[in-house]
């Protein structure tokens, strides 16, 4: 059992800059109290303008939010610092995202229909036989997806601004706007950019794991994993193997609490690994991952090395006043699989829908209660998914025997069907109780066998 030192979670809200919690809340709570006295139903109508909302960050979360806001008749400003950003990312989207967000099929570079899970002792299990012909996991290039969503938001009326968000002035009374300070680049590359300000009524923070909006509202910190990835161009005959297959390697050598992967991209593969607890050893884990896949990526050339943080759980505070966080900024990445694109886009959309509804298509001012509805809906809809994945990670990623059992379980068809159904459609389906019971028994059997072997292994040492 890995000994995790549990940091006291309630203390995370205290930011280092403000050692004393109380003054902070009193300065915020005065306008907060005022916000809550007036229910949204009695919010004043905006007399001569529509509601103004700024979305900071133009990734999937920002793009989806801006589109929904603009469609809802709200004056939307989408502020993105780098319009051609190639965000380092696994790039996998579930099938339901294509339908829910009306994505054109040419955005998807590859359809992954087979996966191979490889245990620490190299037992390899193929999964994907239960997939129907129209089901797949879509692999996208982030720069293509992000640009598409942003352009669609712009077509619907959002103002896309190329700028870097710097800071935000909080309103002192409830009817004052938020003043955003940002550096506007105006599309010129390498230019200095000019300082600009923007007054808006509400803000959606979609600026990713190192969110500045989160810092501005003292959202608190979260634990995060480091994902390290190398893009490798392998010879064409080896690329055929990865035509529609992704691989997942588990083992202590590859990662102590996550997995190593080989994902096919448009014309190369991405080989990477991640960890939360041993970030300083990430290069070692990457070498081990490349070693495990050595035969299959032999002769490949590394064309790009990238790393990015992945949040492990939501920030302590995802909402403050009329500022809400969505996507990676809020920490909506699942455990076990580390999936974030779909949840980012969906949370952006959900938050925007709450604003549109609370403001009655931009005619009234919103307040914190309206934004809280988004949080309620989100937690209610996706909490089971997050919890199940957390349990899976805790049970199956904790040690090598557990990982061996995990790979053994993946060979079971019922497991494959349940896994893919819940991944592709984002619902935790209850399944057949008899099969569930059989599955539970088999899981326990696998775990017991694997740990018995591990005990024997340790005896060999001694």
């Amino acid at each position: 059992m890995s000994s995790i030192a549990f940091k006291p979670f309630t203390g995370l809200r205290r930011s280092a800059a403000l050692p004393c919690h109380n003054p902070n809340t009193t300065t915020l709570s005065k306008p907060l109290v005022k916000f809550h006295v007036s229910a949204s139903r009695t919010s004043p109508k905006l007399s001569n303008r529509n509601l103004r909302v700024a979305v900071i960050g133009g990734g999937p979360a920002g793009g989806a939010a801006a589109e929904t806001l603009a469609k809802g008749g709200i004056e939307t400003f989408l502020i993105e610092r780098k319009l051609d950003n190639c965000k380092p990312c696994g790039g996998a989207i579930p099938l339901c995202m294509v339908g829910e967000f009306d994505l054109p099929l040419d955005i998807i570079d590859r359809r992954v229909t087979k996966m191979k899970m490889i245990s620490p002792s190299n037992i390899a299990v193929d999964i994907g036989q239960t997939l129907k012909p129209h089901e797949y996991i879509g692999m996208v290039r982030r720069e293509v997806l992000d640009a598409y969503l942003r352009d669609r938001a712009q077509e619907n009326g959002a103002n896309v601004i190329n700028g870097l968000f710097l800071k935000m002035d909080m309103p002192k009374t409830w009817d004052e706007p938020y003043v955003l300070h940002f550096t506007e680049y105006d599309g010129k590359k390498g230019a200095m950019g000019s300082k600009s300000t923007l007054e808006v009524d509400a803000v959606i923070g979609a600026d990713g794991a190192n969110s500045r909006v989160a810092k501005a509202i003292n959202a608190g910190d979260y634990d995060y994993a480091i994902a390290f990835q190398e893009r490798i161009k392998i010879p064409d005959e080896k690329m055929v193997y990865y035509e529609n297959l992704a691989e997942m390697y588990v083992g202590d050598d590859v990662s102590p609490d996550f997995y190593g992967w080989v994902f096919p991209k448009c014309d190369h593969v991405a080989v990477g690994t991640g960890t939360v607890t041993h970030k300083s050893d990430i290069k070692k884990f990457q070498l081990a991952t490349r070693n495990r896949a050595k035969d299959k990526i032999l002769g490949g050339k590394i064309i790009r090395v990238e790393a990015h943080p992945i949040p492990e759980h939501p920030r302590p505070r995802r909402l403050s006043g009329r500022v809400a966080l969505v996507g990676d900024a809020a920490g909506y990445v699942t455990k076990c699989s580390g999936e974030g694109i779909y949840f980012a886009a969906k949370s952006g959309r959900m938050c925007a829908e709450a604003i549109v509804e609370g403001s009655q298509n931009g005619k009234k001012m919103v307040d914190e209660g309206d934004l809280r509805k988004y949080l309620e809906k989100w937690d209610k809809t996706y909490w089971p998914t997050y919890k199940v994945l957390d349990v899976l990670q805790k049970v199956f990623y904790r040690s090598n025997p557990a990982r061996e059992a995990f790979v053994e379980m993946c060979a079971d068809e019922y497991v494959q069907k349940m896994t893919f159904d819940s991944y592709l459609y984002k619902t935790v389906a209850p399944g057949n109780p008899l099969e569930d019971l059989k599955l539970a028994v088999n899981t326990i059997g696998s775990l017991v066998r694997a740990s018995a072997l591990k005990k024997e292994m340790e005896r060999l040492n001694v």
Binding site: F6, I123, K296, R372, N400, V448, A450, L460
Partner: protein, 247 residues
């Protein structure tokens, strides 16, 4: 890729055949294979003899490709690379055929000796834990522990431990029964009818089952904390606003 080859630090091999290779880099494809396997003493003792036969299943084209990638890392002179190539040793065993254990080789007087299969798999996993290997599409590992029947696992692992725990429970039970009897005068039969004694019995049995070592107490506490930690992280956003809870 080439960097990983150079950095692939092998376990030290007593039979170091490196000096022989340095000047024979051009002869790699043909000469390499037999030497490759004689220099891996980590597996079973009778490895060397049959290893060459087992490994013929590995496809040839890999070697020249291996050479090319390795030579790329140390310039035109392929001499230094011979060390890396030579020590990419895989797990070999005469009973490990086609990615799984050949059960026929474990037969003794007609019936399969499952303990030996378990021992063999333990050795394989230990070997791989210390020397992680690359996976290969041509030699996939397809071994599944469930081919070993459940009673073999029971006999080997469950029964000895059950004996130990039952022994502990019996000793505790006898001593506690004697103690309670001497303190209260209630005999064993009357003790079993009393609710408090039944509770004590339950606590004693579950204690013996759950707490085997001193560390288990801490582990159990941590486990309980772990199960609810994620929930707490998610609900943190709601904790701050219990006072202003309307709408």
């Amino acid at each position: 890729m080439s960097i990983s080859m150079a950095l692939f630090s092998p376990p030290p091999t007593p039979f170091s055949l490196n000096p022989n290779f340095t000047h024979k880099s051009t002869h790699f494809p043909s000469l390499n294979r037999p030497f490759l396997h004689l220099s891996t003493p980590k597996s079973l003792p009778d490895n060397g003899a049959s290893a060459a036969a087992v490994e013929d299943s590995k496809p040839n084209p890999e070697d020249p490709a291996l050479e090319r990638a390795v030579e790329g890392s140390s310039g035109p002179n392929g001499a230094a690379t011979s060390a890396e190539v030579e020590v990419s040793s895989n797990f070999e065993d005469p009973s490990w055929i086609g990615g799984t254990w050949d059960l026929k080789q474990f037969e003794k007087n007609g019936s399969i000796h499952w303990d030996a299969v378990i021992d063999a798999e333990v050795r394989r996993r230990k070997w791989l834990q210390d020397n992680p290997e690359t996976t290969s599409n041509d030699n996939p590992v397809v071994f599944d522990t469930s081919i070993i029947p459940w009673w073999a696992w029971m006999k080997r692992f469950h029964l000895p431990e059950a004996e130990l725990l039952n022994g502990r429970a019996a000793m505790i039970g006898f001593f506690m029964a004697y103690l309670v009897d001497s303190l209260t005068g209630v005999g064993l039969v009357d003790q079993m009818g009393n609710f408090f004694c039944k509770t004590l019995l339950f606590v004693a049995v579950s204690g013996v089952l759950l707490i085997r070592k001193n560390e288990d107490l801490d582990n159990i506490k941590k486990l309980i904390e772990e199960t609810t930690f994620y929930d707490k992280q998610w609900q943190a956003t709601w904790q701050d606003d219990t006072t202003s809870n309307n709408n």
